[in-house]
């Protein structure tokens, strides 16, 4: 298992790419995206936890799949990687190590959240 804590929470290259999307026609895309992500992600992570509590491997896989995407979009490479692992475990119906990964995702989300808030203008 990789240790994510020594990497930055956000990939600067991705953030730069997102900033490049801002234009005169579409200002504030960065704010819009960050706010969307911050409001959308916690309920999805709760859904993941609920699926885990019920031992619902399919539910775990689906929740982790879309979290993986959204984190990737915002450059949260580490968090995205955790969800990718969870997705794979859900697919293989091998749930033993999922609880510790979920816990780690909670910690990592806090890091990502504060880093993203710094990006808000």
């Amino acid at each position: 298992m990789t240790d994510y804590d020594d990497q930055p929470a956000l990939d600067p290259e991705v953030i730069e790419g997102l900033r490049a999307l801002e234009s005169d026609d579409a200002p504030g895309i960065m704010n819009e995206l960050v706010n969307l992500f911050l409001s959308d992600t916690p309920p999805r992570m709760e859904a993941l936890a609920a699926a885990l509590a019920q031992g619902d491997a399919r539910g775990i896989e689906e929740a982790a799949h879309s979290l993986k995407s959204s984190c990737g979009n915002l450059g949260a490479v580490g968090l995205s990687g955790i969800f990718k692992e969870i997705e794979a475990l859900g697919r293989d119906k091998c749930l033993n190590s999922v609880p510790s990964l979920v816990e780690r995702s909670n910690r990592e989300f806090e890091r990502v959240e504060s880093a993203l808030k710094n990006e808000l203008s």
Binding site: D25, I29, L36, D40, H65, S69, S70, G72
Partner: protein, 658 residues
């Protein structure tokens, strides 16, 4: 499988079946030895049925044949097998004007079926090689399966119809026959095919009823009749729907009708006349069978409104569904689909930034509805989505004609791309792995643009080609007609007359059907030309031709066969009838005054009549006989009718009449 299910349906005893007379006809015609006379006897017992059959025999005949007035004549005209098929169809209506299935609209069903029958019959008269009366019956019975399911399962089918109207209100638009199979293991088309076979209807009936509703080309192995009849049923369905719509819906349906016109190879005026004929016949039959119909609105008005609406829509949508304009040729209409909101937002922004018009959808179902409504050039969709995923969306789109042309770009997550073959099997055009680089997305969309444009070019070419083919078909038909018409008088010309004579001569030879001809020559016509000029001569020919045309009976053929020579072919008419005809023509022409420039007066005819008789070895002899009689009429002082073959005058074979 189907046959077993059909037996089960049949054993319920609830399948629609012809009643009374119809049942007796069915029993009679399924036995081995029966004659036309037996059939006529059974039918004559039912007066209403007799009237309907005679009407059909007359309306299904082409112009130029005599009016049928009895069941016996109708059976000669149509053939016994056809007559019994039609009779079955009619008795089916009589017994099933209402029923137990609550949601089944019996009035609507018969109104539509009747419109299909009438349209099919008129179509074959206009373009087909098929028997109009056969086509009528087949059109009338083409929706038989629905009536059968409603009769056997009145309450279940009522529920199904309820679900359907609910589903359509929700914009689901599901296929009825799929639901039928789900519920009854058999659908309307399969039931109809089995019933038609069970009743001993012609194979081409059951085959075409089974295949017209599938929007696919007819099996190449099926018979010419089946192919022809399937085409007819498809066109008849469109026409029937159009006839039954109010004027607002007719405007919406215009494009379908325009396609029918194209496939029939008619020009606007001809098509208008054709539709009017169908509408009138439909109302006529509806009145007779007490089935509701609708008055036809003038077709040219519908056409004008529809064309105006189409023009306005093109203005509203400069990037209309089928055209990308050159001024913003890289702008595409794209539907973006993703269930994950940040991905959807990013995708939308990237595409908008690249200059496209983007519509977003959060799942496959929403995307499907939007795609069918907005007809995008490209669909960019995520793969994994709850309910309807990307591949299901793609498969669903490819089932629609409009969806087949859309460029489908699938978004896949890392690790999914080794399953991408599945995607291509579902019909996708290309894929991008997420998270994507904006440059890659743009490049892939540009590749799609190239395909979309090529496809549009092909569509445009095809459309132009179709128009060309339709124009050629119209022209070919006009040329064919022109080749058989005398341009001055608009009467059939010598070539047409000779063809008809050959046919009638063969009929006389084979079946001893009598035939007579009347040969006519305008007296002193040369003087008209010499003294009043050729324009006056032409006018005399034109007006004389018109007088003759009006004086002929419906079945007679009047042709101009030479300068001032005319011929009337009296089909299936013995000498006595032909003499009457000849005298009527002679008197009418004598009574008509032509005024043109210096010409003011009448002309007269020398007329010779002859009848095909034993001992004549060729058609030429018949014509020569008429010619000789005409010569005698001239010799005897002109303006008279002479008959060949009657004893009692100096030439041995001629006598004067009138």
């Amino acid at each position: 499988m189907i046959s077993k299910l059909f037996e089960e349906l049949k054993n319920t005893g609830e399948l629609p079946s012809p009643t009374g007379v119809g049942m007796r006809i069915l029993c009679l015609t399924q036995s081995d030895d029966w004659e036309i006379d037996d059939l006529a006897l059974v039918i004559q017992a039912d007066q209403a049925l007799t009237g309907r059959l005679i009407k059909l025999a007359n309306s299904a005949s082409s112009n130029g044949t005599e009016t049928v007035t009895s069941v016996g004549e109708a059976s000669l005209r149509l053939g016994a097998k056809q007559l019994s098929n039609i009779a079955l169809g009619f008795t089916l209506i009589a017994g099933h004007r209402e029923g137990a299935c609550k949601q089944f609209d019996y009035d609507e069903y018969w109104s539509d079926s009747l419109a299909r029958g009438v349209a099919a019959s008129e179509l074959t008269k206009a373009i087909g090689k098929f028997e109009p009366a056969q086509a009528f019956t087949c059109g009338l019975l083409s929706r038989l399966g629905e009536l059968a399911l409603a009769s056997v399962h009145p309450s279940d089918y009522s529920d199904l119809l309820d679900d359907l109207s609910q589903g359509n209100a929700d914009g689901g638009g599901c296929d009825e026959s799929v639901l039928e199979t789900e519920r009854f293991n058999i659908n309307r088309h399969e039931v109809a095919v089995a019933m038609l076979e069970d009743w001993g209807m012609p194979t081409c009936f059951s085959e075409s009823v089974g295949s017209y509703a599938k929007n696919e080309p007819v099996e190449p192995t099926s018979s010419e009749e089946t192919k022809e009849l399937t085409r007819i049923l498809q066109l008849a369905e469109v026409i029937a729907k159009f006839c039954r719509s109010d004027s607002r819906d007719q405007v919406k349906r215009w494009s379908e009708m325009a396609e029918v016109q194209l496939r029939m190879g008619l020009d606007a005026a001809e098509f208008e006349a054709f539709c009017l004929k169908v509408g009138n016949e439909w109302q006529d039959w509806g009145g007779m069978l007490t089935i509701p119909t609708r008055r036809a609105s003038p077709l040219n008005q519908v056409r004008q409104v529809a064309e105006r609406v189409a023009q306005q829509q093109r203005k509203l949508l400069p990037n209309g569904p089928d055209l990308i304009h050159d001024n913003d040729e890289n702008k595409l209409r794209i539907i973006a689909v993703d269930d994950e909101p940040t991905s959807l937002l990013l995708l939308e922004r990237h595409l908008v930034k690249a200059g496209h018009e983007v519509i977003t959808a959060r799942d496959g179902r929403e995307a499907l509805a939007l795609a069918l409504e907005y007809n995008p050039h490209i669909v960019v969709s995520d793969w994994m989505m709850p309910d309807m995923d990307g591949l299901e969306l793609c498969r669903a789109l490819r089932r629609f004609r409009s969806g087949q042309g859309m460029y489908f770009l699938l978004l896949t997550a890392q690790g999914e791309d080794d399953r991408i073959v599945e995607g291509f099997e579902a019909g996708i055009d290309d894929y991008i792995v997420k998270p994507f680089k904006p440059r890659i997305l743009s490049a892939r969309v540009r590749a799609g643009l190239r395909v979309v444009k090529l496809q549009e070019q092909v569509e445009r070419d095809k459309k132009a080609q179709n128009e060309q083919v339709a124009k050629l078909a119209v022209m070919a038909r006009k040329l064919r007609a022109a080749a058989l018409t005398d341009p001055l008088t608009n009467l059939p010309n010598r070539r047409y007359a000779m063809q008809r004579l050959e046919e009638d001569w063969a009929l006389w030879n084979r079946e001893s059907k009598p035939m007579s001809v009347v040969m006519m020559d305008i007296d002193f016509f040369k003087r008209v030309n010499d003294e009043h000029g050729h324009d006056a001569g032409d006018e005399v020919l034109r007006q004389t031709a018109e007088v003759m045309r009006k004086a002929c009976r419906k079945g007679d053929i009047c042709a101009r066969i030479g300068g001032e020579e005319f011929l009337v072919i009296c089909t299936k008419t013995p000498m006595a009838g032909a003499i009457q005809c000849a005298e009527r023509l002679r008197a009418a022409v004598e009574a008509h005054i032509v005024k043109f420039e210096s010409f003011d007066g009448n002309v007269t005819l020398s007329v010779g009549v002859s009848e095909a008789a034993a001992g004549m070895s060729s058609l030429d002899e018949l014509l020569k006989a008429a010619d000789e009689a005409t010569y005698v009429a001239k010799q005897n002082g002109r303006n008279q009718v002479q008959v060949w073959g009657q004893a009692g005058d100096s030439t041995g074979g001629l006598s004067k009449s009138a």
